[in-house]
Assembly symmetry: D2
Homo-oligomer: 335 residues x 4
């Protein structure tokens, strides 16, 4: 870590600051320029609060040289993490395809979709039981009943299930859930992350709407620091000024995260774009650039007006996507 | 609410959708153009999920005409909300000045700052006991002990206290806290908001880094829908591409929120800018454009290198800010 | 176009506004709700200034139903535009690969790179002669001499050349240039666009750093309205809060632009990411999601420290990218 | 300037890079850490291309310590620049108020507004003759005729005039214009900036929608490097995700720019917010935080529906704003 001091900083001030840095167990390298003095902090700087340091009157700016994340850091764990979920894996040779409805609505619905996505090549069933909604007046999900229905579908199809948690107090309901999802809005709900760190469940951690990749990795670090190393990262679009899409899918995050961390990275094109027609091209792009899997919304029930046109794909459209993804995966194998 | 249908939508599809809308208790006005058909949804559309509607294949786009927030809406509550906090108010004639340290560190520290900010005109003492930190390795606050210290300072100085909650399970610790703060990262932690809606405590709700004003008001609505109407809104900067400041303070939110809602609006220039030198000019600007108060970080302890230059103001600099703010408030009175 | 009027608008005001709309050659459909009145503007609304309309006191908001772009609009030109460039095409069956150095530096450099990229499958040679630089103290390009060198390389290799224009007064220098590039910073330099509309040269129009796709299409419209329909769109990353990459590559723009317009769309992964290691995965993703081509920076000269590590690919790395892109193109053919 | 080298960089590579840096006339300070080596570049680093350096394979990241702008830099010109415009100044004791219509439409219109804004305290008349419009089908301004009308209004009222240039070839038309405006979309039209640098006209340089303050200052530097030091900076809102306002006004830019540069800074609340009702509170905030002036849209013609509600203020509303601004300016004098 490097701290650039302001012009005019006195020797006394430099001495004080250096003493404080040493008291944190670090070495200090001093380098005086014609205008600025630069302090190099050498040692385990992960515990140093860069923001606090930068806020000092005598400090112009601070630059981290080593990354503040450790457990998630590729440097210290060169091999890819492979996370076992039921009879499948994420991060290894398998390409994970989590598919299912945005919200679990009824037994009939979830069963029908579960069978359809399994037939089309999904490796896991996803479905929302607890739903984070911007408005308190919108449908909040079937909650415990929704999880029950997912478990029924798991029993019948054998597909592991993925569903979102919003409150650590609900953890007992998630005992048989295979992957617990943390939604974008809770990516920095640190209290929730800490609780999940005390379990051994695979956690699907979604990137927040306005969070950097570094912040995503620091949130993974919260879970891993608690002892749970089973973290799957998920890019689902970031908030920008563009209005044609709900969010802007940041696909460069895939190769970047593969450099920075050993954790698997999956892509959610449904939420990122908010447009069913864009799911297929974005799924193909994700497969081409090295993603470890996809999360895709699939709905059944083409008879009703409301579902007719849902952003989710129909089972047939989903089957078309998985077939196309397979071809791309074959093409990029070994590239 | 208006739904613009896509070119080529069939009469049968329009009929189906209209039937569904009517089944939600609304009237439908149909207007056919040369290319597009437009449906007007008339009635209480707050419960209609615009995103779901927009995701239908036959729907080109949806436009809300009335705001989806009700309890927070100025239209239905034309008078300003005045929230009583101990012996002072927020939203009425008083200008709220919440001041204190970022983190409560020790009894000596909090007492000294409490006395100093009171002398300089603060109306409340703020201080962090539970600290949301990006890194699990950074200091997480004194927690329950921190609240104890704030209560001691309240007892001595009479200043009501404001402190952040991160977990609804901690609510019992906040019984004597005067204002409970919800931080920017938890603005859409809906489970926490619902729990706070069941209390009658004044809630200081901070705008999320990438949240629109509409989303801020929907989060206020979560609290108010539970029965707690004592919500104070706080703008603390949004995330943009500019790097000189930590965030970009959106001061136009002040007059805009005053139009949209009856809830009071305060400004946090310390977190918004991340630069102590910018706190004074931004505090003056906030006072000039009609904010109901300020939240300002103040630190003591000028002897230590680390504190010497903290982003927080010293008590003296804070006193200079409050004096200047008074002059601006006098100038804009009645404008 | 729909205009939602504010609550409380008088009949007299509605009449005045309707009269004005009719004076613009449009029909007005009036629809009164319980609170709001909605005006439908029917006819050729492309000439109506939505922003001006929205700024009226009695207007709450305005929503365009038809797109304001005409010449670029897929609705009126269902078939893909195929733009002929020398002996190759963009937008048809050929996949365009424009490769070459960021700046033309010397004859030796440009010749060597031209030969190398041709051998590796490039269909055009790109190179900067006039360079837009943030700082007036940075190298501004070889200018006319740079274009001369590109033309020499064209003569030898037969590759059509692409180079950027910054000033319409320089047009005479571009007479033998095959594709004229408009850089991101000049995307809304409307005076330049108008001048280029008076030529028949293929124009490569790059999306501005903070411009929406609609604005990109309106800028294409400036060129096309002048009579030049040979426009190639280029996505090269948008400005967001993420800092690991220089910009955020918005790949969903590819399928979206294909829906909205008949113009070809290419991707520039070099500038979008600013990181050589990310060029290959992003090039593969672009090929997978339907881009019509790529623009890639390639540099030679591995002996010098400065070039050793340039963001540009070496010719070998570029050949690896083109080979991999071919495989993905084969895989997605007909999907 | 500091360059952090990647782990694994060889001594040979460090030697090569150091030799190149020295060949640019700089000294190199080498500091080896346990993992990373850091090079300090000492001397006049303004000419070093940080982006190029950062793109080298062996370089992890680069950090500028001194600012890349020189002529605009407060460090080298501690006193405020005072720019004389006709009988008034910008940047000194006078508070500049530039007011007038968005577009010059007719002699009657511009004369009436000119008289009204003069009476209400404006120090300059602004008006658009050449209009940058997103759509080629929107009104592009009266052009040369518009400038003629502004000059007539100047003759009668004595108010200096401000109007926008879009093409350096139009410069002869601007001979009697007092302040030439460069619009946000042309902030990085470097060819235009260079031409303006060859004049001695005061230039009002507007910040681009997605440009950092550093980029704004580099664009000022383009003008100043040519010999024209008469640059006035203007903040007019940046593009964010918020939709209630057209842009987000970044008022913290005022005190920040005052730190970084000696050039005057004015605020345009009309364009920043796009909402007439927000002009007054934002004008007061700008005055409170130290802006050197304002640019405000004022329209006359209350009889026509279209103008009735324009985003521009009426002359009366404008007079109310100037009176209120005066009170705030008095209050903050000497604070």
């Amino acid at each position: 870590m490097i701290a650039v001091l302001k012009a005019g900083t006195t020797d006394k001030q430099i001495e004080n600051l250096s003493a404080w840095i040493r008291s944190q167990g670090l070495d200090v390298h001093l380098s005086k320029g014609s205008v600025h003095t630069v302090l190099g902090l050498v040692g385990d700087t992960a515990k140093i609060d860069a923001e606090l340091l930068e806020s000092l009157d005598i400090v112009d700016s601070v630059k981290r040289i080593s990354e503040p994340f450790k457990s998630a850091n590729r440097k210290f764990h060169p091999d890819d993490s492979i996370i076992t979920v039921g009879n499948t894996t994420v991060g290894g040779k398998d390409f994970a395809i989590m598919a299912g409805p945005c919200s679990v609505e009824s037994e009939e619905q979830v069963m029908e979709i579960a069978r359809a996505v399994k037939a089309a090549g999904a490796t896991m069933l996803r479905g929302g039981a607890f739903k984070p909604r911007t408005s308190p007046y919108d449908f909040q999900g079937l909650k415990a009943d929704g999880i029950e229905l997912l478990l029924k579908a798991k029993k019948e199809t054998g597909l592991p299930i993925v569903t979102e948690i919003m409150n650590a107090n609900h953890l007992p309901l998630f005992e048989e859930v295979d992957v617990i999802q943390v939604g974008a809005r809770n990516m920095q709900n640190f209290e929730l992350l800490k609780e999940l760190g005390r379990t051994q469940k695979p956690i699907l951690l979604k990137r927040g709407l306005a969070n950097t990749l570094k912040e995503l990795l620091m949130s993974a670090e919260y879970i891993m620091a608690g002892g749970n190393e089973n973290v799957i990262l998920c890019e689902r679009g970031i908030r920008t000024f563009e209005t044609y899409t709900r969010n802007t899918l940041d696909l460069s995050s895939v190769p970047l995260l593969h450099e920075l961390t050993h954790l698997p990275v999956i892509i959610d094109p449904s939420h990122a774009t908010g447009v069913a027609r864009l799911v297929k091209p974005m799924a193909l792009a994700a497969a081409a650039c090295g993603a470890n899997g996809l999360m895709i919304e699939v709905h059944n029930d083409p008879a009703h007006a409301l579902c007719d046109g849902a952003q989710s794909l129909t089972p047939d459209a989903f089957a078309d996507v998985t077939a196309a993804v397979s071809k791309v995966l074959d093409a990029v194998k070994g590239l």
